[in-house]
């Protein structure tokens, strides 16, 4: 049975992390060389952790499914990264960033972790600048900031619309420097397919070489998962095509608790769905909400005429436009948090005011800003995003408003970790989006990059030593041990089973079916009946998959369909867990909106007396219902209020 202990250090909030560092165990340099650490994932979290641990002298092995570590999904982040530098002198502070994050997450995150995140945020910016990350600057030569949803200060650092790319390249370059130095061993096009537990501790992983199809066994004293989020359970999302939840699910099968699986973020500003062959959804950065105003027609007949192609948005008079966010939330306006903006868009579209050919779109209009600041200023800020929009939609956003609609974007839920970022399995750690993280029920914009790099550069390198210091006497194990051999055999059996199905349907066609169930019943608005239906429907999808999927080719050599099938089998289980968790959580908070729990104005209604906890699911075996454990959240430094962005 899992025992949850968050291991939050003693002392006042602001001193916890310093106290921790002052009292933790360290590994001396000659012992570091004897300790092996496996890091899975080369995104911001994995790359920053691997380079830091390599520099410190540990023996690191790192794995990625892409052909190069630089291609991890983090590369696609556009808008920016938060830090409490207070360079603009607008009243920001570590406490305020902490407070905004806890509030933005609708009070479902652990105070101590979030405070530490805010505390190390400033070091991240220093580190990245030292690496040569070309952040945007002002004419005076100092760093520029912009605002993001859910904050009233300007604390977001950015590199054009390519912040994730630049931060990842910085971390990637630091990582390649360590590869060159021989402290890190790189494994590309290699997928973790299982985690090996020996005597209750994580001692290695089984991987599949995606080029040869061969399984390999790797030992380590500790295993770190930085494998990203599981948003692709919905099939269509803003995540990269290869983003997957398999590593997290394997951890769950091996005894790690899975926390808050139902907390998924729907991003309000994505390019609307265009057709049935669509493979993914494209995000338009939230930073656009700084200068773009969101609206739909005030009159239903105008919306109908637009949908029929008889009227253009530019023909709608100012007084006939409903700037619904400015109307409903005058204090934050277009900069309300993501969950609030997404639901407001859905509400207007469901009420019949949506635009686009499908009626599932709203306008994001730059007219006012272009008039105020000039076209050049707007181009300077968002040029590449406008270009991207134009290439995809074939419309010029300088002249016609953009069309946007919410889409699945990020998963706040994930592997449960304590203050050390250690899972419930000793020696198994998780960082970045893969863990259940610091974002509670809703993540604020520009905070994922911050968390990934905080975990990798400034938290894990300390906390993992606390664990490894007790492991210096453990010699390297051979991978002929029975635990490794058994794990490898289990994977081999699974692959053989998959290949033998020889059914009639492609992996993607079944994945799309899962996606529709998820979006309809576990999406932006959920209710009891729908979630129950989802559980039934997912069971049917599972059966269809295991009896009717068709994987051409063989298990040897490169086989893309087999890779996808392996991941889909896991997404199906994750989808089920999400529905189950959503059903359990009888309240609305952040990205989790249960229609039964809302205020008369349609805002999310939390049930703090019953649900101020992290739901942590423990695996009980195939086709058995998992057991839920609670980590009660204690708030000593913030007062729980209803989030109010009016």
């Amino acid at each position: 049975m899992i025992k949850l202990d968050a291991k939050i250090p003693e002392g006042p909030l602001a001193q916890k992390w310093s106290n921790y560092k002052a009292n933790q165990k360290l590994v001396n340099p000659s012992n570091k060389r004897k300790l092996d650490v496996i890091i899975v994932g080369t995104g911001l979290a994995g790359a920053s952790a691997a380079s830091s641990l390599g520099e410190m002298g540990f023996n690191v092995k790192i794995f990625t499914i892409q052909d190069s570590p630089r291609r991890a999904h983090s590369i696609a982040a556009q808008g920016g990264i938060n830090a409490a530098k207070n360079y603009p002198n607008d009243g920001d502070s570590i406490f305020r960033l902490f407070y905004d994050t806890v509030k933005g997450g609708d009070y479902r995150a652990r105070e101590a972790n979030v405070y530490r995140l805010a505390e190390v945020s400033n070091s991240i910016i220093d580190q990245c600048v030292a690496q040569g990350v070309p952040f945007a600057r002002e004419y005076g030569g100092l760093l520029d900031n912009r605002s993001f949803g859910g904050a009233q200060v300007s604390r977001t650092f950015y590199a054009k619309g390519q912040t994730g790319q630049q931060l990842l390249l910085g971390a990637y370059q630091a990582l390649m420097r360590q590869v060159n130095a021989g402290t890190v061993e790189m494994h590309t096009r290699t997928e973790l397919v299982d985690i090996v537990i020996v005597d209750g501790k994580a001692r290695g992983i089984i991987t599949r070489d995606l080029v040869t199809g061969k399984l390999e066994k790797h030992f380590a004293h500790a295993v770190v998962l930085g494998t990203g989020g599981y948003g692709n359970a919905f099939f269509l999302s803003t995540n990269a095509m290869g983003s997957n939840g398999s590593a997290a699910l394997k951890a769950y099968h091996k005894g790690a608790a899975f926390a808050n699986p139902c907390f998924a973020q729907i991003h309000p500003t994505c390019i609307p769905v265009h057709g049935e062959f669509q493979s993914k959804l494209t995000l338009m950065s939230e930073s656009l909400r700084n200068d773009g105003r969101i609206w739909v027609p005030k009159k239903k007949e105008d919306a109908e005429a637009i949908r029929a192609g008889k009227l253009k948005p530019t023909q709608i008079a100012e007084e006939d436009r409903d700037y619904y966010l400015e109307r409903r939330y005058p204090a934050f306006g277009n900069l309300v948090p993501r969950d609030v903006a997404s639901r407001a868009a859905k509400e207007r579209c469901d009420a019949g005011f949506g635009v686009g050919t499908t009626g599932l779109a709203v306008y994001l209009d730059f007219k006012t800003s272009i008039e105020r600041l000039g076209k050049e200023a707007i181009e300077d800020r968002y040029g590449n995003l406008f270009q991207m929009y134009e290439k995809i939609v074939d419309d010029n956003p300088y002249e016609t408003p953009m069309m946007i609609y919410p889409a699945i974007h990020y998963t706040m839920g994930g592997i449960w970790v304590d203050y050390n970022l250690q899972t419930t399995v000793p020696g198994l750690f998780s960082i970045g989006e893969a863990n259940f993280s610091d974002h509670g029920a809703n993540r604020l914009g520009a905070s994922a990059l911050m968390q990934g790099l905080a975990d990798g550069y400034f938290v894990l390198p300390y906390t993992i030593q606390n664990y490894l210091a007790d492991d210096i006497a453990t010699p390297r194990m051979t991978t002929d041990e029975k635990e490794f051999v058994e794990a490898e055999k289990a994977i081999n059996d699974r692959i053989t089973k998959l290949m033998k199905i020889k059914g009639k349907r492609s992996v993607d066609s079944i994945h799309k079916e899962l996606g529709v169930v998820m979006w309809d019943f576990v999406g932006m608005a959920r209710n009891k009946e729908g979630l129950q239906k989802a559980l039934e429907r997912i069971k049917e999808v599972k059966k269809e998959f295991w009896t009717n999927v068709r994987i051409p080719g063989s298990e040897e050599g490169m086989n893309v369909e087999l890779e996808k099938a392996n991941r889909l089998a896991d997404f199906i289980e994750i989808g089920e867990l999400m529905a189950r968790d959503g059903l359990n959580r009888e309240e609305s908070c952040g990205g989790h909106f249960r229609e039964e729990y809302q205020t008369p104005e349609g805002e999310a209604l939390r049930q703090d007396d019953k649900f101020a906890y992290v739901s942590c699911w423990e695996y009980q075996g195939e086709d058995k219902a998992p057991v839920m454990h609670k980590e009660d959240l204690v708030f000593e430094n913030v007062k729980l209020i209803q989030r109010n962005y009016k």
């Binding site: 520099e55 291609r71 630049q166 630091a174 062959f277 050599g557």
Partner: protein
């Protein structure tokens, strides 16, 4: 409740195409072109979505789908490649294959699809090539040598907006390798120069600039990439508009390094 997968609206156009696709089972196997027909391709879909349709069709016929690299499908990860009708990333300007849309093609067109062809990038399967050489070039010196922690405050060193912007332009290289595929010599100079330039333009990176240039260029030579003879084909095909001016800057750093030897 919202239905996610709408039927195609009638405002879109759809086209029928003939595809000539390079198929190759493994690195050492002989490759060949196969011809396929695809129909009812929405002009609003992307090139890779068109290939998804082809693959769905092949799977339904019990055949092996075409293997191609891709991930972000947003033009930023640099994973997609493809030599389309003789152009890396196809006929449209300044876009990657994943951002290429089918409205650039006409009903009845024949499209030839090949992998990057270059000594530095061996074929792994079908349209997938091995680009690990790029990582090795970066490992040879494409960084600022700082460890985690112990660095100065981010605003301790002002950097002119002009330099920061120029560094950003060079830094937007996505490491796709189109420049190499476009070059008759198979040179990786545009890729190498983009990184050398970015870091040489910033005071943090200046210290090691000459050494970096030398190490990265010699690694490039060692890995079998050709020489740069300034044909400029790379700049034309680069999806991110990386400019030849970066090669000039690299050459200056390279000469400095030689002088220091």
């Amino acid at each position: 409740m919202v239905q996610q997968f709408k039927k195609k609206s009638n405002m879109e156009n759809s086209i029928n195409l003939t595809l000539k696709v390079w198929r190759q089972n493994g690195p050492k196997e002989k490759g060949r072109f196969e011809t396929y027909q695809v129909s009812n391709i929405s002009t609003d879909s992307s090139f890779l979505e068109m290939l998804d349709v082809l693959n769905e069709q092949l799977i339904n016929e019990g055949k092996e789908p075409v293997a191609f690299d891709h991930d972000c499908r947003e033009g930023i990860c640099g994973m997609c490649s493809l030599y389309i009708n003789g152009h890396p990333h196809g006929p449209d300007d300044r876009v990657t294959t994943c951002q290429l849309h089918m409205r650039n093609f006409n009903d009845g067109d024949t499209i030839t699809i090949e992998p990057w062809r270059s000594a530095g990038f061996p074929v792994i399967k079908d349209l997938i090539v091995d680009r690990q050489a790029f990582d090795k070039i970066i490992a040879a010196g494409g960084y600022v040598s700082v460890n985690t922690g112990g660095v100065p405050d981010a605003n301790a060193m002002p950097i002119s907006k002009a330099d920061a912007d120029e560094a950003m332009d060079a830094a937007s290289c996505i490491g796709c390798g189109a420049c190499v595929a476009a070059c008759k010599n198979g040179s990786a100079m545009l890729f190498v120069s983009a990184k050398v330039s970015q870091l040489a333009l910033l005071p943090q990176g200046k210290v090691e600039a000459a050494r970096r240039a030398k190490n990265m260029v010699s690694k490039m030579d060692e890995l079998g990439f050709g020489n740069c003879t300034n044909t400029g084909a790379c700049e034309v095909e680069c999806p991110k508009g990386i400019s030849l001016a970066n090669i000039a800057r690299l050459n200056r750093e390279f000469i400095k390094a030689k002088a220091q030897d």
